[in-house]
C-alpha cells in the first residue's frame, strides 16, 4: 500500500488544497468574513487567499522533495518514476489552478450577474 500512497498522495494534496482554497474564497466573500475582519476585510481576504496559495505551493514542493529521496520515494523503478512525475504534475496543477488567487480581486462578480 505504500506504493499506492506514493502514487496518489501528491494529487490528493492538490485536491485538498484546491477545495480548501475554494472554500476559503467562499468564506472571504461571505458576510462572516466582514464581521470577522472588520474594515480591512477585503485586504485581509486577498492576503489570506494568497497565503493559502503559497502554502499549497510549499506543500507540493515538499511532496516533490520528499518523493525525490530514496527513503520515501522508494527504489528506482516504475513506482518511483511515476510518483515523481505525478508530484510534479501536482505542483504545476497548483500553480496553474490556484494562480488566479494572486492575479484577480477576491470578490469581484461578473457584471451581468450583478446587474441580474
Amino acid at each position: 500500500m505504500t506504493d499506492i500512497a506514493r502514487l496518489s498522495v501528491p494529487l490528493t494534496l492538490w485536491l485538498i488544497s484546491f477545495s480548501g482554497l475554494y472554500g476559503l474564497h467562499g468564506l472571504v466573500c461571505s458576510g462572516h468574513w466582514t464581521r470577522l475582519a472588520g474594515s480591512g476585510a477585503e485586504v485581509a481576504g486577498q492576503t489570506a487567499l494568497i497565503a493559502g496559495f503559497l502554502a499549497a505551493l510549499l506543500v507540493q514542493a515538499v511532496a516533490v522533495a520528499v518523493l525525490w529521496t530514496q527513503r520515501f520515494g522508494g527504489p528506482p523503478g516504475f513506482v518511483r518514476t511515476t510518483s515523481l512525475a505525478l508530484a510534479l504534475v501536482a505542483l504545476v496543477a497548483t500553480l496553474w489552478t490556484l494562480g488566479p488567487s494572486v492575479a484577480l480581486p477576491a470578490c469581484a462578480w461578473p457584471s451581468a450577474t450583478v446587474a441580474g
Binding site: 475554494y22 472554500g23 468564506l27 461578473p110
Partner: protein, 836 residues
C-alpha cells in the same frame, strides 16, 4: 520412447474435469439465482445493460422525431420532458456504468491471472440490485410516472412544490439503489486488483486495463457518495419537508448543484476511463506491438482521475460566481486536456511503432479517435468562461457531451465487444455485418451531432420540446434527426451482428489475436474456473514472454492446481510486488445475494407507494440476511498453512489479520468517509452562503453531552482493540466488548441530546442538518452495535482463535470509524453554538 504430448494433454483434461464441478453453477433454473461466477454475473450484467441501451436509444429516437420539424405535435411538453429526462438517466445510470462493470467482471480475473473476483457474492448482489432498481425506473416510465426535470434533478424544479408526483422519487430512490450496486462492484474491483493477481504480477506488471479500472473503481467510491447524500437530502425534503434546498428556510438550491456535480463531473471520467483502458489494451494488439509509455499512461490515468474532482463548478459557471472562483475552475478544466493528450499521443505512438491491421475492433478505435478528439476540443472551448456563458444550456453542450460519451465510450466498448467476442463466446466472427454497421453508425453520428453543435451556436436551447418555424434551425434539426435514425440502424446492426455471431459463428481458436496478456491463456470460451492453475509471471506480456505458458497453466504447473481440498481457491498476493501471500477460499453458489437484493430493493422502493412500514421491515431484513451471509463464512477450526503448490505453503485468508473482509470494509469506509465529508461540506456551504442564515438560535452544547461524546469515542476506540488483542492472546474478549458497547451507548446518548434539543428538523436547514449529523452518529453506532453483537456470537460459537482474528479486526475498523466521525459530527454540530 513415448510422445509426451498426449500425456500432457490428458493431464490438462484431467485437471479441467476436476475443476469443473467445484466451480460450476447449478445447471437447473435456480442456478440463475444462485450463481456467483464472474462469467455468469458479467454475462447477465452485459445483457441487461444492453437492453437498457436499447431502451435509452428508443427514447433518443423519440426526442429526434419530436425535434425533426418545428411545432411538432408528435409529443406534448409533458411527455417530452419525461422522455429526455429518462434518456439521460437510462444512458448514464442504467447503461454506461453497468456496461463497463460487466466487462470488468468478465475480463478482470483472467487479465490478472486469478480465478474470480474477490467477492463473488457481492458481485451477484450488485447485479440483482441493479436489475430491480433499473426495472423499477423503467416500469415507472411505462406507467407515465417518470421524473421530468432532467437527469440532474435540479431543485426547486424537483421539489415537492413544483414536481408533486412520484416522478422525482422514482429517480432519487431507484437511482440511489443502483448506485449501491455500483459501489458494491467498485469495492470488489479495488480489492481484486490490489490483492488477487498472478504470482509475480507486481504493480509495474499489471495489464494496463487493471490500472484504468482500479482508478475508476476508486473514483466510484469517492464520487458517488456526494450524489447519494444529495439524493437523500432531496428525498427527505420531499417526504418530510426538511428544507435543505428551500431558501426561505435556510436552505439553498445551489447546494444540490454542488453535490450533484461533485459526482457528475467525475462521472464523465468514470465512464470514459474504462473505455480508454480498453483502447490501451486492444490497440497494441491490433498494431502488433506493445503500449508506448506504459508508466506515462498510468500517470495520466491517475492525474486525470484526481484532476476530474476539481472541475465540478464548470457546470455552474452561470450561477453567479466571483471571477476568482470562475478562474479556478476554468483553469482546472483546461488542465485535464493534458493527461488526456498524453494518452492520445501514447496510442498514436503505439500505432506509429507497430504494424496496424484493420480488423473490426481497430475500425471502431479509429472511429473513437476521430470523434473523441473533437469532443475533447469542444470541452476545452466550454472550459473558457465567456464561451461557456454563450452556449450554456444550448444544443452545443448536448452535442459536446455526446461526442465525448458516444465517441469516447460507446465506440471503444463496441471495439472491446468485438475484440473479446472469442473469449466470451468461444466463437470467431463469421458474418461480416459489423463492417457495414460501422460505416453506417460513425458517419451518421457525425451528421447528427455536428449539426447539433451548429444549432446550439445559433441559439437553440436544450430541454425545450419544440421551436418556431422561421428560427433558422429547421434544416439543421431535420439533418440531425435523419442522422440519428441512421445511427440507430447502425447500432441495431451491431447488436444483431454480435447476437448472430454469438449463436452460430464458427469456433474460435485459442488466442486468435496473438495477444500477450493472461486472459487469453484459457481455452475458449473461458471456463468457469478461469485458469486451471495460477501462473507465475515475469513481465507485462506473459504470453509473449513464454508461448508455452497457456499450456503449462492448463497442465497445473502454476499455483493451486491441487483440487483435493474440493473448494474454490485462488491466490492472494502482496499489493506491490505480487509475491504469493495467502490462499483465498471463495464462497460457492448461494441464493443469499438474490434475497439480500430483494430486501435491499424493497427498502428503497417501497416508499414510492407510501409503504414506509414495509420499507422498515425490509431494512430489518437487510440486516438479518447480511448477518446470515457473514455467518456462513469462516471456520470453527484452525487449518494452518496449506500447500499452495510449487513447494510453497501459505496461510488461508481467514487466518490472517487482514482477511478480504477487512480490505472490503476499508474500501467501503472510504466511500463512507466521502459521504460524511460531503455532509460537512453541505453544512459549511449553507453556513457560509445560504441567504437565511444564521438560524434563530444555535445549539449550545452541555457539559454532559461533551463528556458523553468524548468518553464514548475513547471507549469505542479502545474496546474493540482490547477485544482483538485478547483473542490474539487466546484470552476472552469480554472486557473489551463490554467497554465498546458502553462507548457506543455513550456516543448514541450524545447524538440523542441533539435531537431532543432541536425537535423540529423541518423548521430551518440548520436543524435539519443537525438531525442528519446526529443521524450519521446514530446509524454508525447501530451498525457497530450489531457488529459487536455478531462478534460476541462468533466468539461463543468458536469462530475466533489467535489465528482467526479477522472478524475482530473488521469490527475494530468500523468502531474506529464510528468513534472518529462521531466525534467530528458532534463537534461540527456544537461548534457554531460555542462561537456564537
Amino acid at each position: 520412447m513415448t510422445d509426451p504430448k498426449p500425456a500432457r494433454r490428458a493431464e490438462a483434461l484431467r485437471l479441467h474435469r476436476k475443476l469443473l464441478p467445484i466451480w460450476s453453477s447449478d445447471q437447473r433454473f435456480r442456478g440463475w439465482l444462485t450463481t456467483n461466477n464472474n462469467n455468469d454475473i458479467g454475462g447477465l450484467f452485459l445483457i441487461v445493460a444492453t437492453i437498457f441501451f436499447v431502451i435509452g436509444g428508443i427514447l433518443a429516437m423519440l426526442i429526434r422525431a419530436q425535434l425533426a420539424s418545428p411545432g411538432s405535435a408528435f409529443m406534448g411538453p409533458e411527455a417530452y420532458n419525461q422522455v429526455f429526462t429518462m434518456h439521460g438517466t437510462v444512458m448514464m445510470f442504467l447503461f454506461a456504468i453497468p456496461f463497463f462493470e460487466a466487462m470488468a467482471v468478465l475480463l478482470l480475473p483472467g487479465m490478472l491471472g486469478t480465478r474470480d473476483l474477490a467477492y463473488p457474492r457481492l458481485g451477484a448482489y450488485g447485479l440483482w440490485v441493479y436489475i430491480f432498481g433499473g426495472s423499477a425506473v423503467i416500469i415507472a416510465m411505462l406507467l407515465g410516472l417518470s421524473p421530468d426535470g432532467g437527469w440532474f434533478m435540479y431543485p426547486p424544479l424537483s421539489s415537492s412544490a413544483f414536481s408533486p408526483g412520484i416522478g422525482p422519487d422514482v429517480w432519487l430512490l431507484g437511482i440511489t439503489s443502483i448506485e449501491v450496486s455500483a459501489i458494491a462492484a467498485a469495492v470488489e474491483v479495488v480489492v481484486t486488483v490490489l490483492r488477487y493477481r498472478a504470482a509475480g504480477m507486481s504493480l509495474a506488471r499489471m495489464p494496463i486495463f487493471a490500472w484504468y479500472i482500479l482508478v475508476v473503481a476508486v473514483m466510484i467510491l469517492t464520487a458517488f457518495p456526494p450524489m447519494i447524500l444529495g439524493s437523500l437530502l432531496l428525498e427527505v425534503e420531499r417526504a418530510f419537508g426538511w428544507p435543505f434546498f428551500q431558501t426561505e428556510n435556510g436552505g439553498d438550491a445551489l447546494l444540490w448543484q454542488h453535490l450533484f456535480w461533485l459526482f457528475g463531473h467525475p462521472e464523465v471520467y468514470i465512464i470514459f476511463l474504462p473505455a480508454a483502458g480498453m483502447i490501451a489494451t486492444i490497440l497494441p494488439v491490433m498494431a502488433r506491438t506493445r503500449l508506448l509509455g506504459y508508466a506515462w499512461v498510468v500517470a495520466a490515468v491517475v492525474a486525470l482521475a484526481l484532476l476530474s474532482f476539481g472541475l465540478w463548478v464548470h457546470h455552474m459557471f452561470t450561477t453567479g460566481i466571483p471571477h476568482m472562483g470562475l478562474a479556478f475552475f476554468s483553469a482546472a478544466s483546461t488542465l485535464v486536456a493534458v493527461p488526456t493528450a498524453v494518452m492520445i499521443f501514447s496510442w498514436i505512438g503505439t500505432l506509429w511503432q507497430g504494424k496496424p491491421r484493420l480488423e473490426l475492433p481497430m475500425l471502431w478505435i479509429l472511429g473513437f479517435f476521430a470523434t473523441f478528439v473533437i469532443g475533447g476540443l469542444t470541452g476545452v472551448m466550454l472550459a473558457i468562461v465567456p464561451f461557456n456563458w454563450q452556449v450554456h444550456d444550448t444544443h452545443f453542450v448536448v452535442a459536446h457531451l455526446h461526442y465525448v460519451l458516444i465517441g469516447g465510450y460507446v465506440f471503444p466498448m463496441i471495439a472491446a465487444v468485438y475484440y473479446f467476442l472469442p473469449l466470451l463466446t468461444g466463437h470467431s466472427r463469421f458474418f461480416k455485418l459489423g463492417e457495414i454497421a460501422f460505416w453506417i453508425t460513425v458517419p451518421a453520428f457525425h451528421l447528427t451531432f455536428l449539426a447539433m453543435h451548429w444549432a446550439g451556436i445559433l441559439g437553440q436551447r436544450r430541454r425545450t420540446w419544440t421551436y418556431d418555424a422561421g428560427s433558422g434551425w429547421e434544416w439543421i434539426n431535420l439533418t440531425a434527426s435523419i442522422g440519428a435514425f441512421a445511427m440507430a440502424i447502425g447500432f441495431a446492426l451491431v447488436i444483431g451482428d454480435v447476437v448472430v455471431n454469438t449463436l452460430v459463428a464458427r469456433k474460435a481458436r485459442r488466442n486468435p489475436w496473438g495477444a500477450g496478456t493472461l486472459e487469453w491463456a484459457t481455452m475458449l470460451p473461458s471456463p468457469v474456473y478461469g485458469l486451471a492453475s495460477i501462473p507465475v509471471i515475469a513481465g507485462r506480456y506473459p504470453l509473449d514472454d513464454d508461448p508455452q505458458l497457456a499450456l503449462r497453466i492448463a497442465r497445473g504447473e502454476g499455483f493451486l492446481a491441487d483440487t483435493s481440498r474440493n473448494r474454490r481457491e485462488t491466490l492472494i498476493v502482496s499489493t506491490t510486488g505480487g509475491e504469493p501471500a495467502q490462499v483465498a477460499v471463495l464462497p460457492g453458489n448461494s441464493v443469499l445475494p438474490f434475497i439480500l437484493a430483494v430486501v435491499t430493493s424493497t427498502s428503497f422502493l417501497a416508499p414510492l407507494v407510501g409503504a414506509y412500514l414495509l420499507s422498515g421491515a425490509a431494512l430489518i431484513g437487510v440486516v438479518v440476511v447480511a448477518l446470515i451471509w457473514a455467518w456462513g463464512l469462516g471456520s470453527k477450526a484452525d487449518e494452518g498453512p496449506v500447500d499452495a503448490g510449487r513447494g510453497v505453503t501459505l496461510p488461508l485468508s481467514t487466518e490472517v489479520p487482514d482477511p478480504p473482509g477487512w480490505w472490503g470494509s476499508l474500501m467501503l469506509l472510504l466511500a463512507d468517509s466521502v459521504h460524511f465529508g460531503s455532509l460537512l461540506f453541505g453544512y459549511a456551504f449553507l453556513w457560509t452562503v445560504a441567504p437565511n442564515w444564521p438560524p434563530p438560535s444555535y445549539l449550545a452544547p452541555g457539559a454532559v453531552d461533551a463528556v458523553l461524546a468524548g468518553a464514548g469515542a475513547v471507549a469505542l476506540l479502545a474496546g474493540p482493540r482490547w477485544a482483538a488483542r485478547s483473542i490474539l492472546k487466546g484470552a476472552g474478549p469480554w472486557p473489551g466488548l463490554v467497554l465498546a458497547v458502553l462507548g457506543a451507548v455513550a456516543l448514541a446518548g450524545a447524538a440523542t441530546g441533539i435531537i431532543l434539543a432541536r425537535p423540529d428538523p423541518a423548521g430551518h436547514a440548520y436543524d435539519a442538518t443537525l438531525w442528519l449529523l446526529a443521524g450519521h452518529v446514530g446509524l454508525h453506532v447501530a451498525i457497530t452495535a450489531i457488529m459487536l453483537g455478531y462478534l460476541t456470537a462468533r466468539v461463543l460459537a468458536g469462530y475466533t482463535s489467535p489465528r482467526r482474528i479477522g472478524d475482530a479486526r473488521i469490527v475494530q475498523l468500523w468502531a474506529d470509524f464510528t468513534a472518529l466521525t462521531g466525534l467530528v459530527a458532534l463537534a461540527a454540530a456544537w461548534l457554531p453554538g460555542v462561537f456564537g
